[in-house]
């Protein structure tokens, strides 16, 4: 028999919108909920609403493949993501919820010399920053994850891998539930079916949001709209250096455990883990075209499964059970945008692209800080929108490009 | 690639093993290849010089005095001329281009594979996304598309059907493997009388 999920008896209140709030968070995904939670918890600001156009989590929160890790490359990013990972390590206790957070290890396979060098470079950078990381040779990989085909005879033989043992997965839906419950309990109003359609402005200052459920006044507004950030920015009269693409994922039917870590492969564009329930959860590179349709193209699935079967022949007879896509907001340097916007009292938190699930805790933590103090949290100073003017990009393509 | 055949020995063995009467793969004739680039002003001059009314339109091939001429793009045509004929052919075309075009010897940058037989549509449609139905892909038609994951130029020479595939030499191994494997599949279908396209013969339905 299967391990049954334990969801609590009570999750959240369903209040009516108030006339105004100290802070209105636009977007009830993980980052929006996390922001609201930390506003209340860390800063005592409880007169907060999260306005969500659909149901909580209906964006990328429920669509991501749940890879959690902090092995990024840049000096600017590593502390941010690793602080996030440390928050994860305490989150189940803090939120009193079984998130199925499981630090089973994340392997990043390499298939070319250049890729191997890049990954080694990340390993070195991680270790020097105090982030756990190891370099594994093919034999070590085989020992750690026996189903990987490390034969030198395949098209792109495995040349080695990095391993972050503290990396892992969690149950995405549970995280939505847990954050919503915690925020709601702290007094945050979660307003679903409440689409922001415009902003109320006094000069260059935002004073409220116009929604499908009426006007809601706001002392400050945080835009946390992930795949729809460019549209939200458009409503507020500015634009973002963001392109929106579909990113697909798939699950297999439920099978006995074959894989107890996360394995990613940048060159072959596929990564896979096995969720606690038993389904294989697989992802690939994003689609090439712009879209808001939450679906992608079939050849992406075909290619990723070809790659998967080269690497994990045991998966041949698993079934593709369900596929879906989320819309990811991709920045030019694969790093997020966090902080002030061109509009006063309006703050933005977006651009996490294909990799923001892992940042759910830290994104809310630092963004709540920015909303309260009007300056970025020290972990987030490098991620302002101005960096594109100054040319001080935080290029994470190597560490975040294909993988998650 | 041994000096004689354009196919490496292992590929020769692969295709002769796979081929059967209804789908046969062989190395095609050797040719010299010319890429003729011509802006609109030069196209007519070139055509006239070759005794043609015009150069072939998109997706078409025409026989000319310089051999088969294939449309490649709005300002490019590929001529497949006799081996060693490139130089002379260039001399024929070049004067008419003036500054509005160029002719480039691209001999050897593609190899011709020939695929013949009534089952070849099955073989091709197992790796090529084009609509090859006789009602839309008639003899004399050509198209650039993909086999597996690589670019090819496909030409239907006659209604046998006889196909010519123009494949860059470095990709020949890969393309031949796809075709040979497709032929094996077609043979199994033939032997098991499985209907797979409306035009494959004979037909019997499997439950």
């Amino acid at each position: 028999m299967e391990h049954a999920f334990t969801n609590p008896e009570f999750l959240w209140r369903t209040p009516q919108p108030r006339a105004s709030y100290d802070v209105v968070i636009v977007g009830g995904g993980l980052h929006g909920l996390s922001t609201a939670y930390y506003l209340a918890k860390n800063h005592g600001i409880r007169n907060v609403a999260v306005v969500e156009r659909g149901w909580l989590g209906n964006g990328n929160a429920v669509r991501n493949t749940t890879v959690i890790r902090s092995n990024y490359l840049r000096a600017e990013s590593m502390p941010l993501y690793d602080f996030g990972l440390r928050l994860w390590e305490g989150w189940e206790a803090e939120l009193d919820y079984d998130l199925m957070f499981d630090q089973r290890g994340v392997l990043a396979l390499t298939h070319t010399k250049v890729e191997a060098n890049g990954v080694k470079r990340t390993v070195a950078a991680n270790r020097l920053t105090g982030i756990d990381a190891e370099w594994l040779e093919p034999d070590d990989i085989k020992a750690f994850c026996p189903i990987v085909n490390v034969s030198p005879d395949i098209r792109y033989p495995v040349m080695g891998a990095s391993l972050q043992r503290r990396g892992g997965i969690a149950r995405h839906d549970a995280v939505v539930f847990a954050l919503a419950r915690a925020a709601s309990a702290l007094g945050v109003d979660l307003l679903q079916g409440c689409e922001v359609t415009g902003f109320e402005m006094a000069g260059n200052r935002v004073t409220g949001v116009l929604t499908s459920r009426g006007r809601i006044g706001a002392g400050r507004v945080g835009l946390v709209g992930a795949g729809r950030s460019p549209l939200l920015a458009g409503l507020a009269g500015f634009s973002l250096p963001i392109q929106s693409y579909p990113l697909q994922a798939l699950v297999s039917d439920i099978v006995d455990p074959v894989l107890d870590c996360v394995v990613m492969s940048g060159t072959l564009h596929v990564y896979v883990s096995q969720a606690q329930k038993g389904e294989l959860v697989m992802g690939a590179g994003r689609d090439t075209y712009h879209s808001y349709a939450q679906r992608g193209s079939f050849q992406i699935l075909e290619h990723q499964i070809q790659a998967a079967l080269e690497l994990y022949p045991i998966m041949r007879r698993a079934h593709l059970l369900r596929t879906w896509a989320g819309i990811v907001d991709v920045t030019p340097d694969a790093s997020p945008i966090l902080g002030r916007s061109p509009v006063d009292a309006l703050y933005i938190n977006c651009g996490w692209g294909t990799g923001g699930f892992k940042a759910s805790p830290v994104s809310g933590y630092v963004f709540a800080h920015a909303l309260v103090h009007e300056v970025p949290h020290e972990l987030a100073t490098s991620f302002s929108l101005e960096r594109f003017e100054t040319g001080t990009l935080v290029d994470e393509h190597g560490a975040a490009g294909v993988a998650h | 690639m041994a000096d004689g055949s354009p196919l490496a020995a292992h590929l020769g063995a692969l295709i002769s093993k796979a081929s059967f009467d209804d789908a046969r793969l062989t190395p095609g004739a050797r040719v010299d290849l010319l890429s003729v680039r011509a802006r609109r002003s030069a196209v007519q001059r070139v055509a006239t010089a070759l005794g043609q009314e015009s150069l072939p339109p998109p997706n078409a091939c025409r026989a000319t005095i310089l051999g088969d001429c294939f449309w490649l793009r709005p300002d490019e045509w590929l001529f497949a001329t006799v081996p060693g004929g490139a130089e002379a052919a260039m001399k024929t075309v070049e004067p008419h281009l003036l500054d509005d075009g160029a002719v480039i010897d691209v001999s050897g940058s593609r190899i011709i594979l020939e695929l013949t037989g009534p089952r070849t549509r099955d073989v091709l449609s197992s790796c090529c996304p084009l609509d090859l139905d006789p009602s839309v892909f008639e003899p004399g038609r050509c198209a650039q598309s993909i086999i597996g994951k690589v670019s090819v130029l496909l030409h239907l020479v006659d209604a046998t059907p006889r196909w010519h595939l123009f494949v860059p030499p470095s990709y020949v191994d890969y393309v031949v493997r796809w075709l040979a494997d497709g032929i094996e599949g077609a043979r199994a279908e033939q032997e098991n009388a499985l209907a797979t396209t409306p035009h494959s013969s004979p037909v019997r339905m499997l439950p």
């Binding site: 634009s239 250096p241 392109q243 712009h290 808001y292 349709a293 050849q299 | 598309s145």
Partner: protein, 87 residues
């Protein structure tokens, strides 16, 4: 998976094409912020979107496509010179 009508070659599978987005434009002279926009900012509408594709595995021509990003419906394809395709 899209089926895209190349103005030259006709309707072909998406796998024969490469997406070019809005494309780059040769810069007009301008100040620094203008340059930043040119480098990093592109249109990204929900709805009809004017984009460019190139038929990499076919005629290698770039062309214009208007596609609705909320439905993936292709509203038109045109040659770069603005003419409708013959195909």
């Amino acid at each position: 998976m899209l089926l895209i009508t190349c103005p030259w070659c006709g309707a072909r599978e998406e796998t024969e094409f490469r997406h070019g987005g809005e494309g780059v434009r040769v810069p007009p002279d301008g100040d620094d912020p203008g340059w930043t926009r040119l480098l990093y900012y592109r249109e990204n509408p929900a709805g009809p979107y004017a984009e460019r594709w190139v038929h990499v595995h076919g005629c290698r021509q770039w062309f214009h496509v208007v596609r609705d990003t909320t439905t993936h419906q292709i509203l038109s394809t045109r040659r770069l010179d603005g003419q409708e395709g013959a195909a």
